[in-house]
Every structure is written in C-alpha cells, then in structure tokens.
C-alpha cells in the first residue's frame, strides 16, 4: 500500500520534471534552431523552404562591424570587472564569518531596483554638467567637462557597473573555500607572496574566474538597454541587432540564426568552464 503511494508520487514528480523541461526549456530552444533554417513570412513569421541563407546573412559586413565592436566592448568589460572584483572578493572572503554574510548581502541590495533604473541614474552622474564632471572640475583636475555620456565610454561604464556583481558572486563561491593553510604551506616551501598567489590561489579559484567571466561576458554582448540609455549612435551591441531583427525588421529567421550562433558560442564557453578544474562536480553552485 505504502509502496504504491510512493511509486505514484515518484511517477508524478518525474512526469512533471520531464514536461517542465520539455515544454519550457527544450521546445523553445529547438524552435529557435528550426526557425534559423526557415524563411521569413510577413504574416506567420516563419515558412518553408528550409535554407542556410540566414547564416549567410551573418557575414554581412555591416553586421560584422557591430559584432566586432560588441565583442571588443564585452572583452574590455570582462577584464576590467575581473581586475576590480578579484581583490575585492579576496578581501571580503577573508572577513569574519558573520560579517561576510552582511557584505555579500550588500552586493545584492542594489539589484532590488531594476537595472534599467540604475543605468538611468548613471546619466546624472556621467552627463556634461553631471556629478562626476562637477567633482573633477571643482578640484581642478580637469579644466573642461569630459564628454562621457552618449559615447562608448559610457556604455563601458554602464556595463561594468551592471555586471560587476556577476563577477563577484561566483568568485566569492570559490575564494570563500580557500584553505589558508595552503598559503602557509607555500610559504614554508619557499614561495614568495606573488608565487603563492599565482600558483596556489589563482588555480584554486579558476572555476570561479571562468564562471564569472562567462556571466559577465555574455550579458555584456547582449544588454541592449545599456547602450540604448547611455550610448551614442554607433554604440549598438549584438543584443541590439537581435532585438531589431525580431521587433523592427521582423525577420525571425535571421534573428534566430544570430541567436543560435550566440548559443553555440555560449556552449563552447561552458565547455571551458567544465574543463576548468574541480568544477566537474556538477552540483557546484555557480554563485
């Protein structure tokens, strides 16, 4: 009696999981893949015949320029976030346990306002008469206001600001577990602080570094609202192109093809993540 009830329960839960993943996770992505091989239709969005032309559209020189620019911005954002976040996370991971929870919480609090709103607030900081310029001029560090707003520099600032926590959180997950006696062992064996850092701390935190880089790099390619709010005429990112294909040009197949290319790229990065050391343990939280 008990066994049948348990069995029923198990069946029900497993069916639920299969349906949930099938309908909400796999079906939508398969549809995108399928759409990338179909043709554009003004009414139904998609129609036969199957073809590869949508992928050929990816080599359009105008599109390529945008993609290269966007990649450049994403790489700069990722490296800058890593350089800023690593020492920061290293320091807070060394604080006393109760304090650590508070400091971690303080990273999440700004997320309670929508990121669109926070990027909008950057306008009043970066604008010509904004807080940054006023501050710098008051101290005589610059003689005339810096032109930051509506340039690529502002988009870089916005991306860095929006994505920095996504670098900090995965780094924290690995740095928190760092066993300090390893550093003592390195010192005892004659390693200087630099050698100990680069040959002990960095390899141990490699999964965190890779996860953080992925979590910054991919959104930095796609957060079109940051470039919309802070950028100029030529600040479009890859995400803006995808959005326009879907919402303005209404060319679903080409939009889907760009999406598929981005997904393949993401899977490649994920492959790197799983190869980056002890993260083979799949239950390892990413943040």
């Amino acid at each position: 009696m008990l066994k049948t009830a348990d069995n029923f329960c198990r069946q029900a839960v497993l069916y639920f999981i299969f349906i949930w993943f099938g309908v909400m996770v796999f079906a939508p992505n398969l549809l995108v893949l399928l759409a990338s091989f179909l043709s554009q239709d003004p009414v139904w969005y998609l129609r036969l015949p199957l073809n590869l032309e949508n992928y050929a559209a990816l080599s359009d020189p105008k599109l390529l320029t945008v993609i290269l620019k966007s990649l450049n911005l994403a790489v700069c954002t990722t490296l800058f976030c890593l350089v800023v976040a690593y020492p920061f996370t290293y320091f807070i991971a060394r604080f006393a346990r109760e304090r650590r929870a508070l400091f971690l919480m303080l990273i999440i609090v700004p997320f309670w306002t929508n990121s669109l709103i926070r990027n909008y607030a950057l306008i009043s900081i970066l604008s010509e008469n904004g807080i940054l310029n006023t501050f710098l001029m008051k101290h005589g560090w610059i003689s005339e206001p810096l032109k930051v707003l509506y340039t690529n520099a502002a988009v870089f600032a916005g991306m860095t600001y929006t994505l920095l926590p996504f670098m900090i959180l995965p780094l924290y997950a690995t740095l928190e577990k760092l066993d300090l006696s390893l550093l003592e062992a390195a010192e005892d064996l004659g390693a200087g602080p630099m050698a100990a850092f680069f040959r002990v701390v960095v390899p141990i935190s490699a999964p965190g570094i890779v996860a953080g880089c992925i979590m910054v790099f991919l959104p930095a390619l796609t957060l079109f609202y940051v470039s919309d709010i802070l950028g100029g005429a030529d600040s479009a990112v890859l995400g803006s192109v995808i959005r326009d294909q879907f919402m303005i040009v209404k060319d679903w197949p080409v939009g889907a093809a760009i999406n598929v290319a981005l997904t393949v790229f993401m899977l490649f990065l994920l492959h790197l993540y799983y190869k980056s050391g002890n993260s083979v343990d799949q239950e390892q939280p990413i943040w």
Partner: protein, 255 residues
C-alpha cells in the same frame, strides 16, 4: 596600513555600486526638473507620483509579478531539487546540465526562444507569459541553492524515518522540508531579486496589455524622464527593502 588600504578599496567598490542608487534617492527630493544640481528639499515629486495612477500601477504589477515568480519558481525549483536528491532517473545528467546552461544563458536567448513559442502557440502575451518566463529563468537558482543544502542533510535521518514506517511524502514533509527551509527561503529571495531586476526577458514576453515598471520606464526614456520617476524608484527600493527585511525577520524568528 595594509588593512586600511583594504577597507578603502572595499569601500570604494561599494561606493560605485551604490552611487546610482544614492543619486536617484537624492534627486527624488530635489526641487528642480534638471538632475544637475541641488536646488533644495521637496516632496512634490512624491505627490505627483501618487497622483499618477499608471506609473503606480506598473510598479505594483512589477512587485506582484516578482512575488508570484518567486513563489512559483521556489515550488518548481524545490520539487526538482528534492527529486534530483532522492531519485535516480533517466535524463538526470541532462537536467543537471540544463540547470547551469539556463543560469549562464544571456537573457536575450531565453527571451527570444520563449516569445517565439508563445507566439507560435497563440498564447497572448501578458501576465501569464511573464510569470512562466520569469519562473523559467529563476527556478535553477532555487534548485541549486536547495541542492547544496540537501547535500548537507544526514542521509540517515531519511532512512530512520523510512524504518519507522514513514512514506516518501512523510519523509519529505516532516524531515527534509524543515531542514532545507532556510535554503528554500534564500531561493525565494534570489528569484524575487532576479525578477525585479529583469529587463530583457520582460521586454520580449511582456506584451502591451500588462505593462510592468521597466517597460513603462523604457518607453519614457525616449520622451525624457521626469523626476517623479526618481521618486518612484526610491519608493520602490524602500518598499522592497522593507519586504525583504520583514520576511528575513519572520524566517529567523521561526527558526
């Protein structure tokens, strides 16, 4: 000396993270339309805000959506975590793998694939599509948080329960759930936060009939934002802060 530098650095990073929030809150009390300088204290933007029904409504929709999303994704995520922990089944590896793929996917990939399936299936865009989509990108965070906690639960407890005649349902209800409750709550909070913060997925699956706050603001950015939006953002921030603190208190007291 080294310690002072450490704190200075940590403080500087926090300053950067909080500056836009602080600016928004300050300018919501600023007696001027321009956001360039301080002209004196006023609450007139708050008065104007509370007179603007459409703005208030979109904010309330956002909060309602975030709370609903957090609840559904906590239920879905916890069920999946417990199933992954207690059962062995075909496709388990695929489920594990998909969790990290979903967490790392840029929002635009998810937003587009979801809006395509909704449009093809003829599901009208609105609250239900927003709720489903937000749940899809939030539940893996709940699952992972709960799984980590489940790994720390002593397996003997469940076995002892089974020996004493408890059914699977009883074991989950009376042994596992009480033990993982803090992680379940943490998952709820993470989902709430992710949902409130989301722009891109909502942009695609939101539709015109159920305008939540980021979409409302997105359409206002082009026409120029008025200071009452600052007031709204500040008010919303404090409201969220209060909700989170209160729920944190409640959970802590129950423990």
């Amino acid at each position: 000396m080294v310690n002072a530098l450490k704190y200075l650095y940590v403080g500087a990073v926090y300053l950067v993270l909080y500056a836009p929030l602080l600016v928004t809150i300050c300018f919501s009390f600023n007696d001027s339309v321009s956001a360039d300088a301080w002209f004196g204290f006023t609450v007139k933007w708050y008065e104007r805000l509370f007179a603007d029904k459409s703005l208030i409504n979109s904010a309330l929709r956002s909060l309602f959506l975030a709370a609903s999303t957090a609840t559904t994704s906590t239920v879905v995520g916890t069920i999946i975590a417990i199933a992954l922990h207690r059962y062995r089944f075909i496709g388990q590896k695929v489920v594990y793998g998909s969790l990290s793929v979903i967490m790392l996917s840029p929002e635009i990939i998810q937003g587009i694939s979801l809006v395509m399936i909704f449009v093809i299936l003829g599901i009208p865009l609105g609250f239900s599509t927003l709720l489903l989509s937000h749940t899809v990108f939030c539940f893996p965070f709940v699952t992972i948080t709960v799984l980590v906690r489940l790994k720390g639960v002593n397996r003997n407890l469940a076995e002892a329960g089974a020996d004493l005649g408890a059914s699977d349902v009883d074991i989950v209800r009376f042994i596992l759930i009480p033990l993982i409750l803090p992680a379940v709550f943490a998952g709820w909070l993470i989902s709430f936060t992710l949902s409130i913060d989301d722009v891109i997925i909502s942009f695609f699956v939101g539709g015109k009939n159920y305008e939540i706050l980021p979409m409302k603001i997105y359409s206002m950015v082009r026409t120029g934002i008025q200071p009452d939006v600052n007031a709204l953002c500040a008010a919303l921030f404090f409201a969220t802060f209060a909700v989170v603190m209160l729920s944190y208190r409640l959970v802590r007291n129950r423990k």
